[in-house]
């Protein structure tokens, strides 16, 4: 087996919060023991709702946040504790695309400089070649090279996100970290950016950590998917396996909550509506962190924390739930919720 591009082991990120009047410091357990790896050329989707910690994982890997514990290994090098000055060269190996193409581009720089900046920073291309390379990069993301003289405010949201993608891929990084790259865009623009990302990934073969809340875009783009809840991965499996045979009650509920754009199908579909909200990451529940909202909760789930374990014979399907049998027998949560109504 080839060595993974990225290996994350037991990553934790805790934020201390001042709780106002009380003198005791409280701790937000944003990421609480996350492990996964990404193989060369693989797209891993990290999906979860707000507060699940998915973006924090991405930021820790990029070293935009300092991890509290755990190790992050990029192409065989432990980068968890690299000093600041040695983080910068890492941007050649991993680059990022963010959600909001309005705030992630410098409004005072013309597009050509924005796209060429990483190349200049890393002295990858000498001056005479820079312009030609920038034009190539713009063409790669289907933008006219003439746009390099324009400023971000003159571009549409979709065009701006293409600029951000061209900038990220300019250094040909082995790993791209994309945090909700299409969720601020309109449906028709979203489609073209998703197609572009898919084409570029197939063409250039980079690995990608795709952080998103939208399950359908994750299914479209990713080879493997990890589902996060309250700072932990609760289920991880190859795309098809996860979407067709979800095991964890949370994954099942999440999938059933996505409305399908088809009135007839949507109305005849059995939906699982979870009650309650995501608990506070300051004081996560004991036992299984999902037990407060789980429709099939049992006494054991409240006390004992389930570990992420592989289900035998299901092709690398991992799940953290006491109620999933050793051979992947999943609890039927639709029946339980329809009783409740």
């Amino acid at each position: 087996m080839t060595a993974p591009v990225l290996q994350v082991d037991n990553l934790k990120k805790h934020f201390p919060v001042d709780s106002g009047l009380r003198s005791s410091k409280e701790i937000v357990h944003a990421v609480d023991g996350v492990s996964f790896s990404i193989a060369p050329g693989e797209v891993l989707g990290l999906v979860g709702e707000s507060g699940s910690g998915k973006s924090t994982v991405g930021k820790c890997i990029l070293r935009l946040l300092e991890p509290t514990a755990g190790t992050i290994t990029l192409q065989g090098t432990d980068i968890t504790r690299l000093p600041r000055r040695r983080v910068r060269p890492l941007r050649r190996k991993m680059h990022m695309v963010f959600q909001d193409p309005y705030s992630s581009l410098n409004p005072r720089m013309p597009i050509g400089r924005i796209v060429g900046e990483p190349l200049r920073m890393h002295n990858l291309v000498d001056g005479s070649q820079l312009e030609r390379r920038v034009s190539e990069l713009l063409e790669m993301v289907a933008l006219r090279p003439e746009l390099r003289h324009r400023y971000p405010h003159e571009l549409s949201g979709g065009q701006r996100q293409r600029v951000a993608i061209a900038r990220a891929l300019s250094v040909q990084p082995p790993l791209l970290i994309a945090d909700e790259p299409v969720s601020a865009l309109d449906v028709s623009v979203q489609a073209s950016i998703l197609n572009l990302l898919k084409d570029l990934q197939a063409e250039l073969g980079f690995s990608c950590l795709f952080v998103a809340h939208d399950l359908s875009t994750v299914e479209f783009l990713c080879d493997r998917v990890a589902v996060m809840y309250l700072g932990k991965i609760v289920e991880m499996a190859p795309r098809k396996e996860l979407f067709v045979h979800p095991k964890h009650p949370y994954t099942q509920a999440l999938l059933s909550a996505v409305p399908v754009p088809d009135a007839k199908a949507q109305r005849h579909r059995q939906r699982i509506v979870l009650t309650g909200d995501i608990p506070s990451p300051v004081a996560p529940p004991t036992g299984c962190s999902f037990h407060t909202r789980c429709p099939v909760v049992q006494e054991r789930n409240r006390i004992e924390e389930p570990q992420l374990r592989e289900i035998s014979g299901q092709g690398h399907h991992l799940v953290a739930c006491h109620l999933v049998g050793p051979n992947g027998e999943a609890p039927d949560i639709t029946r339980e919720t329809s009783h409740a109504q």
Binding site: E49, D186, S188, A191, N195, A257, P261, A263, V273
Partner: protein
């Protein structure tokens, strides 16, 4: 019976550069107890439609047409009378529940304020009624929650408080502008159920403004599709999703990635709509979708298509409507 009748509504914003024609000749009716959705992408005019009905457009807007709520034209009504209708007969919820609630007052006081203003309830009676309302919208432990502040509630709970406020005076029409866009899917499902439930219990008609076709498919009974400030298609929800007629509607439906419907091939792609939305400062005199449409011809590029019925109860503004088969 028709509750709300919008006819020939046009809105033009004066700006420092060119005026922006945000809405052009939009007409529709909202029937009693109905859930009608207006769907479209940014800039299509869906929120401007909601704002004009509520009388909340800024003074730079020039509005023409007629918006009649049970026969009274809201556009010509004096401000004072409009204020007595708004929040009572006509109420609203918005996308971001945190910014629509006042952070320094308890939720009970804010829900109660509506009741004291419109129904003249005493402070105590308003509080009691607020507890009932919080219970109605599915907030657990309403006796305790009534004394809490907005920051103590989650996003989903805040939106429930907004809904409690909106339905407090038993409105005839509820306008919901992207009510679930800021919420997570598992929370969204609960809010959509609540809206349907309130319509069934209280009989409130709902005008739902959204960009999300999944949300439309879930709750709407009838759908209006808007593009570049115009209504381009209208039908019942089931009809629209099964037999979309306008190439723009078809394009939108094909552009959405769908769960578990993606074939396994590595190279499959989503359908794209080429080009961009036309500028509203120079709206074309022909079909606004023509430059992006594969069916566009000389007629499409010279004239504006009128809305016409192509199937029972299904209107479309297109010279070449229908699916690929009927068209080719």
């Amino acid at each position: 019976m028709t509750l709300l009748h919008v006819s020939g509504l046009s809105v033009r914003f004066r700006t420092e550069d060119n005026p922006v024609q945000a809405l052009s000749d939009v007409s529709f009716a909202l029937e009693e107890r109905e859930i009608l959705a207006i769907v479209g992408e940014s800039g299509c005019g869906k929120s401007v439609t909601a704002m004009s009905i509520l009388g909340l457009l800024p003074s730079t807007a020039a509005i023409s047409g007629r918006i009649a709520l049970e026969g009274r034209d809201l556009l010509t009504l004096p401000r004072k009378e409009l204020r007595s209708i708004r929040g009572k007969e006509l109420s609203m919820i918005f996308q971001e529940p945190m910014t629509s609630l006042n952070p320094v007052f308890t939720v009970g006081r804010q829900v109660g304020e509506v009741l004291r203003h419109h129904e003249g309830l005493s402070r105590r009676a308003a509080r009691d009624r607020a507890i009932e309302l919080l219970d109605l919208v599915g907030i657990p432990a309403p006796q305790r929650r009534v004394d809490e502040y907005p920051h103590q509630l989650s996003g989903g709970m805040r939106q429930r408080v907004m809904i409690a406020m909106a339905v407090s005076c038993d409105p005839k029409v509820l306008i919901a502008d992207e009510p679930t866009t800021a919420l997570d899917v598992t929370i969204q499902a609960g809010i959509l159920d609540l809206m349907r439930d309130l319509r069934d219990k209280l009989g409130t008609a709902i005008l739902l403004i959204t960009h999300d076709l999944g949300v439309v498919a879930d709750v709407a009974e009838r759908v209006i599709v808007m593009y570049a400030g115009r209504k381009v298609e209208e039908a019942t929800a089931e009809e629209l999703f099964e037999h979309p007629q306008h190439p723009y509607t078809m394009g939108l439906l094909a552009a959405v990635p769908r769960l578990r419907e993606q074939p396994n091939g590595e190279r499959d792609r989503l359908a794209e709509i080429p080009g961009m939305v036309p500028s509203l400062s120079a709206p074309p005199s022909h079909c606004p979708f023509a430059p992006r449409c594969s069916r566009a011809d000389e007629l499409t590029l010279s004239e504006l298509p009128e809305l016409r019925d192509v199937r029972p109860g299904h209107a479309v503004a297109c010279f070449h409507p229908g699916d690929e088969r009927t068209y080719s």
